[in-house]
C-alpha cells in the first residue's frame, strides 16, 4: 500500500516535470518579423476580454502570430514588471501607468514610440501621459479616464430628493446627503480617503493645485488647496458620511451596491464591471457629472481628474519589430475602436468616445455614461512628476493619520507639503 502510494506520487511528480518542460519548449518558436509569439501583460482582469478582442483582430490579419494576454493584480503587476525589467525579460507588450511612466522612461527601459504615434490623433492628456521627462513619447496612448458621481436612484426616490444634475454644487451634495440620512437612515455621499477619486477633484474645482504646472513644487499649503482638502476630510464628520474606519471594514462600492449608501465617486473604468457584477441593480443607479465648487478661489468651479494608460514595449525586447507592429495596431483607429466597443475603457483616439458610450446601450445597461464623456471639456490632468512613486505612499499614510485623528488637518497638510517638497528635491 505504502509503496503504491509512493510510486504514484513519484509518477505524478515526473509527469508534472515533463509538462513543465514541454510548456517551456513551445514558447521560443519563430523569431522572424511578422511571425512569432507575443506576451501581453495587463493589471486589470476586467479589461482582459477587451485586450483579447484586439489581439484576435490583429492575429486575423497576421496568421503566423500568436498573442497571449496575461492579467494580474495591480500590486503584483508592478513587482513583476520591475523584476522583469531588471533582468531584461519583460513581456513583449505591457500597460504603463502614468504613475510609473517617468521611472521606466527615464531609466531607458521603454522603447521610443515617437515614430508610430501621431500626436494629433489622440487626446492631449493621453499624449502627455505617454511622455518621459525628456518629452519623447514612450508609449502608445491607450485610453483616457474620468471621475464621475454614482448615485442610487431608489434611495433618492425613497428620500424624495431630486437626482443630481449638472447644476449641483457641493452644497447640494451636502443637503441631499443630509436629507437622505434624515429620511432613510442611509449614508449620503461617501467620501473615502483617495487622491485621484477623492480630494484632488475638490482641490482643482476650488482653483487650487497639488503640484505647480511643471511638477517641480508642491502646492498643498496654498490656501485654495488647503481649504478644499480640509473640506473634503471634514465631510466624514457628518452623520451621513461613513468614517474612514467604516470604509476600512466595508468599501464604498460594497456599501453602495448593498443599498447602504446613496452616492460615491468612481472612475469610469469601473462602470462596465459594476454593471456586469450587479445585474439586479440595472436601472436602479446612474452616473452624473461631479458637483461643482460654489465659490471657487479661481476658475468656474468645475474639474474632474483625468488620467490615461499607455501601451509600451521594452527598449531591448527580443520581439521588438513585431511588438512595434502590434503597438501600431493598438494605437490605430481600428484597434482603439475595438477597445471602446468592449466597454473596457474610453479610447484615447479622438472622436471614438461614442464607441464606449454605445456599448452600454448595446448591452442593455441603463446608465447615462454620456455624462462621463461630457466632463472631458473641463478635465484636469492627473497629478504626476518623476518623484511621485516615492512621495505617494507617504502622502497616503499622512492622510490616514489625519483621518485617524493622529494629526490635525492643518499639521497633516503641512507635513504632506514637506514630504513632497523633500521628495522632489531628492530626485
Amino acid at each position: 500500500m505504502n509503496k503504491l502510494v509512493k510510486r504514484g506520487i513519484s509518477l505524478a511528480c515526473s509527469a508534472l516535470l515533463l509538462l513543465g518542460f514541454s510548456a517551456c519548449g513551445s514558447q521560443g518558436n519563430g523569431e522572424s518579423a511578422g511571425k512569432g509569439h507575443l506576451v501581453f501583460q495587463i493589471w486589470d482582469q476586467g479589461q482582459k476580454a477587451g485586450m483579447e478582442a484586439m489581439a484576435e483582430a490583429y492575429v486575423k490579419s497576421h496568421p503566423d502570430v500568436t498573442i497571449e494576454v496575461q492579467a494580474s493584480g495591480w500590486d503584483e503587476y508592478w513587482t513583476k514588471l520591475e523584476a522583469a525589467a531588471t533582468s531584461n525579460s519583460m513581456p513583449d507588450i505591457f500597460w504603463m501607468h502614468s504613475n510609473q511612466m517617468f521611472k521606466y522612461a527615464d531609466n531607458g527601459i521603454l522603447a521610443d514610440c515617437s515614430e508610430i504615434v501621431d500626436e494629433s490623433n489622440y487626446s492631449e492628456i493621453s499624449v502627455e501621459n505617454a511622455k518621459g521627462s525628456d518629452g519623447k513619447i514612450y508609449g502608445v496612448p491607450k485610453d483616457k479616464d474620468i471621475i464621475g458621481l454614482l448615485y442610487n436612484k431608489e434611495i433618492f426616490d425613497e428620500a424624495k430628493v431630486d437626482y443630481p444634475d449638472e447644476n449641483w454644487t457641493w452644497e447640494d451634495l451636502e443637503n441631499a446627503s443630509q436629507k437622505i440620512y434624515d429620511e432613510t437612515g442611509k449614508y449620503g455621499y461617501m467620501a473615502y480617503s483617495h487622491d485621484q477619486i477623492g480630494y484632488w477633484n475638490f482641490v482643482y474645482q476650488n482653483g487650487g493645485q497639488i503640484l505647480n504646472d511643471d511638477g517641480t513644487a508642491a502646492k498643498y499649503t496654498e490656501p485654495a488647496t488647503e481649504k478644499a482638502m480640509e473640506y473634503y476630510i471634514g465631510l466624514q464628520k457628518n452623520d451621513w458620511c461613513p468614517t474612514q474606519e467604516t470604509f476600512a471594514n466595508t468599501a464604498a462600492p460594497e456599501l453602495f451596491f448593498s443599498g447602504k449608501g446613496a452616492m460615491y465617486y468612481a472612475g469610469n473604468w469601473d462602470l462596465i464591471n459594476l454593471c456586469a457584477t450587479y445585474p439586479d441593480m440595472n436601472g436602479k443607479w446612474d452616473v452624473a457629472v461631479l458637483p461643482k465648487c460654489p465659490d471657487p478661489a479661481k476658475g468656474d468651479g468645475r474639474a474632474s481628474i483625468s488620467n490615461s494608460v499607455s501601451y509600451a514595449t521594452a527598449a531591448k525586447g527580443k520581439n521588438r519589430e513585431l511588438a512595434m507592429d502590434f503597438l501600431t495596431f493598438l494605437g490605430s483607429e481600428e484597434g482603439q475602436k475595438i477597445q471602446g466597443e468592449s466597454g473596457a475603457a474610453i479610447p484615447a483616439y479622438n472622436g471614438l468616445e461614442e464607441t464606449w458610450v454605445q456599448t452600454f446601450a448595446d448591452k442593455g445597461y441603463q446608465l447615462d455614461v454620456q455624462k462621463m464623456v461630457d466632463m472631458f471639456d473641463y478635465s484636469v490632468k492627473y497629478v504626476n512628476n518623476p518623484s511621485r512613486p516615492s512621495w505617494e505612499p507617504k502622502v497616503e499614510q499622512a492622510m490616514l493619520d489625519i483621518y485617524g485623528g493622529i494629526t490635525t488637518p492643518e499639521e497633516g497638510i503641512q507635513k504632506i507639503q514637506d514630504l513632497v517638497t523633500e521628495a522632489i528635491e531628492e530626485e
Binding site: E82, Q244, A248, T250
Partner: protein, 293 residues
C-alpha cells in the same frame, strides 16, 4: 599518516551527494543574504542601479517614528501570540492525548487551519470581525471596531494568528507527549500523585525539548508576520500604522515606494532582532529544558 580530506574517495562522494542542496542554498539563500547586507548600505534605485551611502539608511531608520513603531508592533505581536499560543497548544495537545471518543476527528479538526491558505483564513476572519455586519459583533451584541481601532487591531490579528497556529503546534507537542513512557505515570499514581502534579512533574519536563522547538519556531514566525496584516488590515486603514510589522514596513518601502536600500536595512535589523531573541532563548534553555530521559 594524515589523509588528505579532498583526495579521499568517500569524501568526494559525500560532497557530490550534498552538492544539490548546498548549491541551492548558496544561490537561493546565502547569495541574496549577502546582497541584502550590501544593499542596506546603498540607496538602491530602480532597475538594479545603486549609490553607496554608508550608514545613512540605518541612521534614518532609527530616527523614523514609523520604524520604531513597527519594531514595537512586532515585539508586541510576539508577546501576544507566542506565550498564549504555545500554552493553548499544550493544553490542546494534552486534551487530545486523553482517552476520549472521536480523538482522531478532534485532531483533524484542530489541524485543519494549517491546511487552509493563510489568505483565505484572513479573509474569512476579516468578514467575521467586520464592525457593522460581522458575525462576532452581531452574536455578542458588541460594537467593537476590531479591524480599524488602532488600539485593538493588533489583538485582533493576534487572535487569528493564534487560532491558525494552534493545530500545528499541538500536533508537534502531542508527538512529544506520546513519547513519554507510561511507566512514569504508573509509578506516580501508585505514589498518589494528582493529575496536576503528574502534569507538572512528569509531562512538562519530559515534553520540554519539544516545547522548546515549538517556542523557537513560533517566535521566528511571529517576528516575521506579514500575510495576516496585509490581508486583514491593509492599505486605506487608519489603524495601519499601529499594526504594521517590520516585514510589512519592508514590503511597503521596497515594493510600493521602491526604496530598496532602506528596505534592506529594515530586513537586516529584523534578522538581528530574531538572532538576539533566539540567542537569549538558547541560553535560557539550560534552565528549563530537560534532555536526559
Amino acid at each position: 599518516m594524515k589523509k588528505k580530506a579532498w583526495g579521499n574517495q568517500d569524501n568526494a562522494w559525500g560532497y557530490m551527494m550534498i552538492a544539490p542542496t548546498i548549491i541551492g542554498l548558496l544561490i537561493l539563500n546565502v547569495y541574496p543574504f549577502i546582497q541584502t547586507i550590501f544593499m542596506s548600505f546603498t540607496s538602491a534605485k530602480a532597475f538594479g542601479g545603486y549609490k553607496f551611502v554608508g550608514l545613512k539608511n540605518y541612521a534614518s531608520m532609527f530616527s523614523s517614528p514609523e520604524f520604531l513603531r513597527a519594531t514595537w508592533n512586532t515585539i508586541l505581536f510576539c508577546i501576544l501570540t507566542v506565550p498564549v499560543g504555545v500554552m493553548l497548544a499544550l493544553v490542546v495537545a494534552i486534551l487530545l492525548n486523553a482517552k476520549i471518543k472521536g480523538k482522531v476527528a478532534f485532531r483533524a479538526i484542530f489541524f485543519l487551519p494549517m491546511v487552509v491558505a493563510p489568505a483565505a483564513v484572513a479573509m474569512v476572519w476579516k468578514w467575521m470581525f467586520n464592525a457593522e455586519y460581522g458575525i462576532i459583533n452581531t452574536v455578542f451584541h458588541l460594537k467593537v471596531d476590531w479591524i480599524t481601532n488602532p488600539n485593538i487591531v493588533i489583538f485582533t490579528v493576534a487572535i487569528v494568528s493564534i487560532w491558525s497556529a494552534i493545530g500545528y503546534d499541538a500536533v508537534l507537542l502531542l508527538s512529544g507527549i506520546q513519547n513519554i513512557s507510561k511507566s512514569y505515570y504508573e509509578a506516580a499514581s501508585l505514589d498518589g500523585c494528582t493529575k496536576l502534579q503528574q502534569f507538572w512533574y512528569i509531562t512538562l519536563p519530559m515534553v520540554s525539548p519539544t516545547l522548546f522547538v515549538v517556542l523557537i519556531m513560533r517566535l521566528m514566525t511571529s517576528l516575521k508576520v506579514y500575510d495576516m496584516i496585509y490581508m486583514m488590515v491593509g492599505e486605506g486603514n487608519p489603524a495601519l500604522s499601529k499594526a504594521q510589522s517590520l516585514i510589512y514596513l519592508f514590503y511597503r518601502e521596497s515594493f510600493i515606494s521602491g526604496n530598496k536600500g532602506y528596505a534592506s536595512a529594515i530586513v537586516i535589523w529584523t534578522v538581528l532582532l530574531i538572532g538576539i531573541i533566539s540567542a537569549v532563548q538558547f541560553m535560557g534553555q539550560k534552565k528549563w529544558v530537560n534532555y536526559d530521559v
